[in-house]
């Protein structure tokens, strides 16, 4: 931790050593950043607010995945399906049973978390590629269950229309209002994740990731902590799913397909596994990349008219794939590592020796 500290900053007690925000400058930057974020919708277009809402929801799911995959070293290829579990729990409770969104949100987190515990059980016996296959099963089983078990409740393959969240008569019925619902939750989840990884549980996660045998020898109950990591990961997915449902106001199973699980994992990789800020960077980077791909289509259509119809179809996934490959080869520690390097160079300033 000390390596990130600006030059001349020393801790005088444990409280200072434990603090997430350490210096006046950091407090100032945090306040300015939050003020900027929360005033952003005033001077942004509807499209930008929509993009930020999308990033906010995705970030919640990615933070969860980062705790499981990045910190605990357990691969999860079914995060989108756990989002689906949260989305459908919230959607069904609010649309079919008239439950308030504010009750449905924690319920969806718990349901997704419990499902995570069930599908996390194989992690007690298997790991690596085999665990990936097991979570892949979760991806298919959950979606299949949504479609087939109670289509009268879920709508099957058709969309389930979900009501907007309300506080009294105040409805979160546009992007602007949803921003003020999604962003605080995304920030809280990020804050929770940041704190979690500094607790005993967080350190146990890292120990399991680095060497589970050694962790067990040290007295860490690896079963408990593996399941805890699964639970937290999927609770986050459940929250993201619930927000997604009420943001989109309609959900269908194909939204939560395998490709979305892969994209979420890609965000963790690009951001840097095992880094809270990396999850933020990765989410923003990939979502903005998607926008760039969209913006490039007219340019490509102008330069290569014959390709316009076909190349644009593939542009976004092509960019995504290239970015993943480049990051894995050139910067496996992700954007977070680049950010670390930047901070270290700042720390040494003006004594760059």
């Amino acid at each position: 931790m000390a390596i990130d500290r600006p030059c001349g900053t020393f801790d005088r007690d444990y409280a200072q050593d434990m603090a997430i925000v350490r210096t006046r400058l950091q407090w100032g930057l945090l306040a300015a950043g939050l003020a900027f974020l929360f005033t952003l919708p005033i001077y942004s277009s509807n499209h930008i607010i929509h993009l930020f809402n999308y990033i906010g929801i995705t970030l919640i799911a990615v933070q969860g995945l980062n705790i499981l995959t990045g910190y605990t070293g357990l691969l999860n290829l079914g995060q989108a399906a756990f989002m689906a579990a949260g989305a459908y729990t919230s959607g069904i409770l609010t649309a079919k049973f008239g439950v308030s969104f504010w009750v449905a949100l924690p319920c969806s987190a718990i349901v997704a978390g419990l499902l995570g515990l069930v599908f996390g059980l194989p992690s007690l016996r298997i790991k690596g590629f085999y665990l990936a296959m097991s979570t892949l099963a979760a991806q298919f089983i959950i979606i299949s269950a949504i479609v087939n078990v109670r289509p009268d409740l879920t709508g099957g393959w058709s969309s389930l229309i979900v009501p907007v969240p309300k506080i009294g008569d105040f409805a979160f019925n546009n992007q602007f209002r949803m921003f003020y619902l999604i962003m605080p939750i995304a920030l809280l989840v990020t804050f929770f994740a940041k704190n979690l990884v500094r607790t005993g549980a967080g350190r146990a996660f890292v120990a399991i990731r680095d060497n589970d045998l050694a962790a067990e020898v040290m007295g860490i109950n690896i079963y408990r902590y593996k399941l805890l990591a699964f639970f937290i990961c999927t609770v986050f997915a459940g929250i993201a799913g619930s927000l997604w449902a009420h943001w989109m106001r309609a959900i269908e199973p194909s939204i939560f397909g395998l490709h979305n699980s892969v994209w979420l994992l890609g965000m963790v990789i690009v951001g840097g596994m095992g880094s809270i800020s990396g999850a933020v960077f990765g989410t923003i980077f990939i979502r903005v990349l998607d926008e760039v791909a969209k913006a490039l289509v007219p340019v490509i259509s102008l330069v290569f008219p014959a390709l316009s119809g076909n190349i644009s179809a593939a542009l976004s996934p092509i960019f995504f794939s290239i970015v993943i490959v480049l990051f894995v080869i050139l910067e496996p520690r992700g954007l977070a590592h680049r950010w670390q390097i930047l901070k270290i160079s700042y720390r040494l300033n003006p004594f760059a020796y």
């Binding site: 409280a15 603090a19 925000v21 407090w27 945090l30 306040a31 939050l34 003020a35 929360f38 005033t39 919708p41 005033i42 277009s45 509807n46 499209h47 607010i49 929509h50 993009l51 999308y54 479609v147 709508g155 099957g156 393959w157 058709s158 969309s159 229309i161 019925n173 992007q175 602007f176 209002r177 003020y180 989109m248 106001r249 309609a250 959900i251 269908e252 194909s254 939204i255 969209k294 289509v297 119809g309 076909n310 644009s312 179809a313 593939a314 542009l315 976004s316």
Partner: protein, 414 residues
Amino acid sequence: MIKRISRFAWVVALVLVALTLALSCAPKEQVTPAGKKPTEIWLRGSAAMTGIYAASLLPAAEAIKEAVDLINTERGGIDGVPWKVELLDDAGDVAKATATYEQLKVKEPRANMMVFMTTSGVAEALRERFNEDKICVMLPSGSATAIYPAGNTFCIVISHPDGFGFFIDWLAETQPKPVKLGLLNWDSTFGRSIMTDECTNYAKSKGVDIVATELFGIREMDLTTQLTKIKNAGATWVFTNTLGFGTVTVLKSVDALGLKGKMNFAGGHFAMDYDVLRVAEALTEGFVGPHSMVTWDEADNPYVAERRKAFDAAERPDSYRAQPFLVFKGWMTYVADIHEAAIEEVGWENLDAEAFKAQIVKTKDLKLPWTILNYSADKPETNWARMVQFKGGKVLPITDWRKAPDLRPAQYKK
């Protein structure tokens, strides 16, 4: 500790102030100044121009642009105002489509009517927003969830369930009973839209037994297992609610099993298009389905003759010779007529979605050169169709126009 709490309190206070400021400065609904005749009128919308449906829907988007250009050239736009079109890509993805819609709905001058050439899932997801934002939307077709209860969304093609009912009527009238039917649908909102109680019960009431129902994934290429199951269930007819490459996949699997000639095959409206014919002409012979529009092969229809001439003159790629380039000029002409009728009735100053809706629901059994349209306040989809057949590399009608049965979900019937 106290210092930390006080810092935290400062941050919270700042955030609260920012939040209050933000909410008090919330952008108001943008309203186009009403009253005067504008200098241009916009038709906005989105299409799945990329993604797996792009092969069918990119030409559709191009066809809309071409049709609007033609209307501007031929009749000087709408009430003398140039008509402009802006279609964005939504890739058939709900999140992207919502983003696209959010972009479009606030654009000035406001478009009170939009067109969406996209997937059933997108149409379902956006339905409530169309109603809330008071925007009238036209779709080619949609699932029941996308259009019911009737709101601001209208379709120009019979719905998938009604189309299926139309096919059942034809089957019951022309085939010896009992007819044993197998369903082979895409495992998607679109594919499953005919797997409703209304459809099943209607088939039964007409003496058609649905003996097997099989599904397949959109990316699945081998359907021999599903077809074998349908055959073993004793089906003599197979109906597939798919389009384009989905229908081709069915036909190729039929060929692989050597079932051609041993069983009969049919598909929904969108299966009966030229993209299927182009890819698998030899396999399509005899394939039938309900269809709401004229086809490129009805050369004696003056509208079709004119479109054929224009298509050839524009030297479009052969891959564009599908329904959109044939019928969208007619569709856009109808939309332009609706605009002009609404303007005449309420004036430019009151031109809004309600004015458009009022005109659309007045459309009763309207015979147009390319289709027959029929709308009502509680049924925002047309219900006229014919059975057509792939025959000798052509799509030819085998029945006259008639109304399809009403198979919308029971709760939406008045």
